[in-house]
């Protein structure tokens, strides 16, 4: 590296320094700290600047306590259940991207409309859907009743609360960043491949299945990885805003459980253990995706 390159490097690092320092201080350091805390009895009521109790190493106790918690597996099940909507959400994003990748008049307007939920405040979206799911006055149930169905009570119903959240998540996911990624991926598919397929007399479906879908495999793989990780870590805002985790814990996800354990009880060691279990679950799922998903990408 010559003097000029070193100078450029210094300048670049200088510009990046605020971001790097912030990331180290507010992300990396807490993450590392939480690993240690997960193996201690750290409790806000015992360990802070006004208390003199010493932090004790408790080994795997926080983890064993977590796995024997009467609700942990139920909340884990809730989290997995909500993730069942991911394939539909990803398919919806792809469908929207296919619709919006053609040459249609006013395409920019359509794209903006589809993407609108993504830059709308999530709380506003949750409140909107709460109104839509209103058991008696809500438009969804009015529509279902008009069709002759006996509509459910959605967010107020133990069995329907999770499907209600999945429907809303599907709606928000269709026009999300996934759609943009698919749009970008579609733009990268070489036009020659479609021309060859046309010469071979391929139908639209055949062109999609044999050209578009394989070409989008890397994008799909990335989206699956991100969505699965997000699925394990998500659900907090929805639960907090729309259902408070209810009814009777039906919509309490692991991330909501983590918040409740951390801040309702002050047991930060235990909450850190919860956080690392969630991370481990997401990480394992990502590894599985890598192991079994990359073969389709490489093909």
């Amino acid at each position: 590296m010559n003097a000029r390159q070193r100078q450029h490097l210094r300048a670049g690092l200088g510009f990046l320094a605020p971001q790097i320092l912030g990331f180290l201080a507010f992300t990396i350091f807490p993450v590392i700290l939480s690993v240690g805390l997960a193996f201690t009895n750290c409790d806000l009521r015992l360990h802070n600047m006004f208390k003199d109790a010493s932090l004790q190493f408790v080994g795997w106790e926080n983890f064993t306590r977590l796995f024997t918690h009467p609700d942990f597996w139920r909340f884990f099940g809730n989290t997995l259940f909500l993730m069942l909507g991911l394939p539909f959400a990803i398919a919806g994003s792809l469908g929207a991207a296919l619709l919006l990748s053609g040459r249609t008049r006013g395409l920019a307007v359509y794209r903006t409309m589809f993407y609108l939920p993504h830059f709308t405040a999530s709380v506003a979206i949750f409140l909107l859907w709460k109104k839509l799911f209103n058991p008696y006055g809500g438009p969804i149930n009015q529509f279902l009743a008009a069709l002759g169905f006996q509509p459910p009570e959605w967010l107020n119903d133990y069995y329907w609360a999770k499907p209600a959240l999945m429907i809303m998540a599907f709606w928000t996911a269709v026009g999300s960043n996934n759609m943009l990624l698919y749009l970008a991926g579609l733009a990268q598919v070489p036009a020659e491949l479609y021309e060859v397929a046309d010469m071979d007399g391929a139908s639209r479906w055949q062109k999609f299945w044999h050209v578009t879908w394989p070409q989008l495999a890397p994008v799909t793989f990335y989206i699956v990885i991100i969505s699965v990780s997000g699925g394990f870590l998500g659900g907090f805002e929805m639960a907090r805003t729309m259902t408070a985790g209810g009814p009777a814990g039906a919509t309490t996800t692991l991330s909501y459980f983590l918040y409740a354990e951390g801040f309702d009880t002050g047991r930060l060691g235990y909450a850190s253990a919860v956080a690392w279990v969630i991370f481990t679950l997401a990480f394992v799922m990502t590894l599985l995706n890598w192991k079994f998903g990359t073969r389709y990408v490489n093909d």
Binding site: R45, Y136, Y158, P247
Partner: protein, 504 residues
Amino acid sequence: MIADPAFKSGRRLLLSAPMKTVFGLCFAGLVLASALTAWWTPPKHADRPVLYWVTDANPARPAQVESFYRWLARHGHPPVEVRLDPANNDPTKKIIQGVSGVGGDLLDMYGGAMVRYVQAVGVLADVTDAAEQGRFTPAQTYPGLRDQLVVDGRQYGFPANVYLNLLFVNQATFRRHGQPLPPRRWTLEEFERAGKAFVAAANPPGQRRRVFFVNTIYPPELRRSLGLDTFNETMTRCTLDDPRWVTVMKLIHQWTYDDHLLPSAAEFDSFATEMGFAGAEAGLFRSGNFAMIEAGRQTLVQFREYGALELGIAEPPHGGFPNTYIDARVATVYVASRHRAAAERFLAFLASEDYNAQIVADADSLPPNPAFTHSAAYRQPPQYPNEWECHAAFAESAETIGIGDSHSPFVLPSEVANATWPAYQGFMAGIYSADQAAIMAADRINAAIQRTLAEKPGLRPAYEELIARQKQIEEWRAAGRPVPLAWITNPFHRQYYRELGWAE
């Protein structure tokens, strides 16, 4: 990576002189904007101590602060400046900032449960001695609030507003449906009878019910009215696995889903009413959808905007022991406040006539000092004759049937809530039977007690002592002997034993 041509070109672009210029201009712009902001912002320095009051964004707060200034001047205290800090009023923020050494000087705690939790964290200053000198001891407020302010015999705050729920009665709604007005005090059976007659008269048969007898009934009030609290007398064991709690849950279920005296959660949500200061309930009360709502005196602030509603008051129905919950927004002092004496003077101000007169006039809940509820200004405000029945009822109830929540030193209030309500919701949703829900809640709370004892072995001796005392209480009760009140730490049971003549 460097070999990647796209990266190379991007790097060239990034480090080229024009890009640097753009960055430099952005940086200079930000510096200039910061300087301008600093110039426009009012100076933070003050010629007197500054107290940061972490409270809600209630429009009455600035007037209360001005009143505090006048009170200080009149009593010859050194002046201070109070800056309101509603942005940090979230409970989590208060705790995190508190343990980080940067908490506000005055911290509002919403209820005794929160006082206990934050005190356990160590963030609250012990104001016992200052309270003696400044005359803002528990004796200066309602007897039912003592346990919300005092932990282990030490005082940690003073009420700023006192909450007590009674049933507001919309007399016009009752008249409209040809029903007699409810009595001030009624049994469960009287309540049910009147409620059934009301909803039958108010809702045309064969149509969706849109008029309910009352918005809600707080289940623990009914449970306590049958003599059952969350904890036993010494708060060493949860007693929710009692048939009386099962009875109450079944009763609420019946009133909601069979008799339709109360709306279900779905029915409540179905009312598309704009949320006001007092929530949707106030609007639905005004419109006649709820003949009664269970709420505190502060709801009058909202009612006054509706004009002169014809208001009456009833107590929550009881199964033998009339009661209601009393709690408070408690002003506390941050343990690391740099102006602790000034902050403690603020608590003394909350007990003063100046502050209490403001609460009386605003109807923003009950004034902290009950002495100010005996005035005509409180009981019969001339501009609101429709409220006259309400004010006296709230004041009398606060001093007679208002009992604070019980907080065991061996389990966090949040753990109690997280065990009780999901089980209750599960029963209401048909997931568990009432017996299962009762046992589930009790088992979880008792397990949490054991967990606390394992985590804090220092509590074990006190726990063992209380267990022995509990055994003694039960033996004496079984023998029909009166029990010394000093043995009972649970505020509900103290009152219950006193009222029933079981106490020495």
